[in-house]
Each structure stands twice: as C-alpha cells, then as structure tokens.
C-alpha cells in the first residue's frame, strides 16, 4: 500500500510538468488547421500538390522501481524543431505554399508493470501541401 501511495505521488509529480508540444512556429508558410485559408473567409480548393506526415514532439520517460529504490529517466524532444524542419522540407522553405492539416492527433499513454513504468506523450500531424493561388 505504501508502494502504491509512493508511486501515485511520483506520478502526480511527473504529471505536473512535461508533455509534448506540436507547433510549427518557425515555418513561414501557413499551416492551416481549419478550412479557411485567408483573412476574410476565403476557402481553399482541395487541389493537392503533395503530402507529408510528421511525427514530432514526443516526450517519453521511464522510471524503474526495484528493491525500494526509484530511478527516473526522461527523454525530452524539442517541441517545435522536428515539425518545423519537416514542414520546411515539405514546403521547400518557400512561403508560396499552404500546408493544410488533415490530421492532428495528440495524446499519451502509460504502460507499467511491477518493476517499470513507461509513459509517452506524442503528437502526430498529417498534412498536405497546396501551392498558393491554386
């Protein structure tokens, strides 16, 4: 019971920080989530020029508890850099393309046994690219 309490306390401490972030703030092209692609309410056509799938912003960690000793290790990936780089690749660094998000999934899960707890938070973004003006 003490072990359970201690693990719960540890988990609460873990949840206080961390998490994965999906963003693309360094990308010059618009990365659009909704159907409106311009200020004023213009809606883009569905003509696609290319497709890209990005999986980024993963935070994962593991803590092992055995023989009454707790070890904790975390792996933090930088929030926006992988997504930004992939988007820059997808748009070739130009700003004449619009990136339309077709799927943005975020979440996390925990897998644990008696000796180990593994948790992971991840975000996945699937997008397609359209040349501006099409």
């Amino acid at each position: 019971m003490r072990l359970l309490f201690l693990l719960s306390a540890l988990s609460l401490a873990t949840t206080a920080c961390g998490g994965s972030v999906m963003t693309a703030q360094r990308t010059a092209s618009p990365v659009l989530l909704g159907p409106v692609d311009r200020v004023g309410g213009h809606r883009a056509s569905a003509q696609r020029s290319g497709e890209a799938t990005l999986k980024a912003s993963t935070e994962a960690g593991v803590y092992m508890h055995a023989y009454g000793t707790y070890f904790m290790a975390s792996r933090f990936d930088s929030g926006s850099t992988p997504a930004t780089l992939s988007l820059l690749d997808a748009t070739s660094g130009k700003d004449d393309c619009d990136v339309h998000v077709s799927n943005l999934t975020a979440g996390g899960w925990v897998l644990n046994s008696f000796s180990t707890t593994w948790w992971q938070d991840e975000s996945e973004l699937r997008a397609w690219v359209r040349k501006s003006g099409q």
Binding site: L4, L7, S8, L10, S11, L12, T14, T15, G18, G19, S20, V21, M22, T23, A24, Q25, R26, T27, A28, S29, P30, V31, L32, L33, G34, P35, V36, D37, R38, V39, G40, G41, H42, G79, S80, L87, D95, D98, V99, V101, L104, T105, A106, G107, G108, W109, V110, L111, N112, S113, F114, S115, T117, W119, D121, E122, S123, L125, S132, G133
Partner: protein
C-alpha cells in the same frame, strides 16, 4: 524457491496500460487557424510580422478519455471550432496564429494495479493555445510625383535666343626674346692710343 520465482514471473507479467488520444479538428472555424506564424491576407499575400497585431490569446483545455487500455476512445475528436469563433469574436481578431497543441500526462494513467483492469479509464490533458491577431492595413505606398515642368503658354511669343557671345580668345604672343645686351662701355679699339 521455484514457487517464489513463478510468483515473481506472474507478477512481472501483469502489465497495466492506460491512456487516451484525440484528434484536434476545427471544421467550423470562420477564421484562418495556423500552427505557424504565417497567414495570408484577403489578397492572398503572407502577412508580415509588422502587420500582425496580437489582440488576444486563445486558450482551450480539454481532457480526453479512453478505456480498454486506451484502445476504445471515448473522445475520438476534439472540436475547437466554437471556442475559436467565440474567443476571436470577443477579441475582435481576424485570425489565430502560432497555435500549439500540448498533450500532458494524466494522473489516472499512473495508478498501478487498477490500470491492469480493462475498464479503468485513461485520460490525457490537451492544452491548445495560440495568438489571436488582427491584420493591420497596408501602409500607403510612397509615390514619387514628377517635378512640375513649366509649360510655355500658347500665346506667348517665342523667345528669341540671342546667340551666345563667342568667347574671345586671347592671342598667344610668344614671349619676346630678350634683346642682346649692347655693351655701353666704349669699345676699346685695339691699337688706339
């Protein structure tokens, strides 16, 4: 001893799992939502940073749930359209840029023993934030007007241009050679006494 090992193996094989994920969508948004800093104005041009005026902050929290070791999603989609429209209208903005989606672990997922059970709920906290902006109007382009050229009046007599005086050229006088000096001393005649 063997019994203890078997018991430990069985205990180690008891693996619990919990969690949740959700797809963030905004099909009913009336303004452009961008995960990057880029957004296009009504003319289709990228709005530079200098024309983006941040008028508010969009914030939306959501907790998504799942059961059955996170396979059965109770919140498969998280629609932020209404929140976007309401908060943008309140801030009198025109677009949302720099949107970020953060997923944070949920404490319920970490409760051991109970998350061995398939009906133990798992969850995940989503925090969605962004900047609400208003697009400033373009600065007026600076047009350099041509300088006014004085036009001659139609009934004005033609101006007679007098010929320019030819410049006088000064005759170059060669420098006079210095005359040979005549000795004013009397010439002493040889032999004269």
């Amino acid at each position: 001893m063997i019994r203890r090992i078997l018991l430990a193996t069985c205990a180690a094989s008891l693996v619990g799992c919990a969690g949740a994920s959700s797809e963030v969508v905004a099909p009913g948004a009336k303004v452009p939502i961008s995960l990057s800093r880029g957004v296009r104005d009504a003319d289709g041009e990228i709005v530079p940073q200098s024309r983006q005026e941040v008028v508010g902050r969009f914030e939306q929290d959501a907790t998504v749930w799942a059961i059955g070791y996170s396979f059965a999603k109770l919140d498969p989609t998280t629609d932020i359209s209404d929140a976007i429209n309401a908060q943008v209208a309140r801030a009198k903005g025109q677009a949302v840029v720099r949107l970020s989606v953060r997923s944070k672990p949920c404490a319920l997922n970490f409760v051991e023993v109970l998350n061995w059970l398939p009906f133990w709920p798992g969850c995940s906290n989503l925090v969605i934030v962004g900047d609400i902006i208003r697009v400033k109007s373009k600065p007026p382009e600076t047009v350099f007007a041509p300088l006014p050229v004085p036009r001659p009046k139609a009934d004005a007599p033609e101006t007679a241009f007098a010929p320019l005086p030819t410049p006088r050229t000064r005759a170059v006088v060669p420098a006079a050679r210095p005359e040979s000096k005549k000795s004013k001393t009397p010439v002493k005649k040889v032999g004269a006494r």
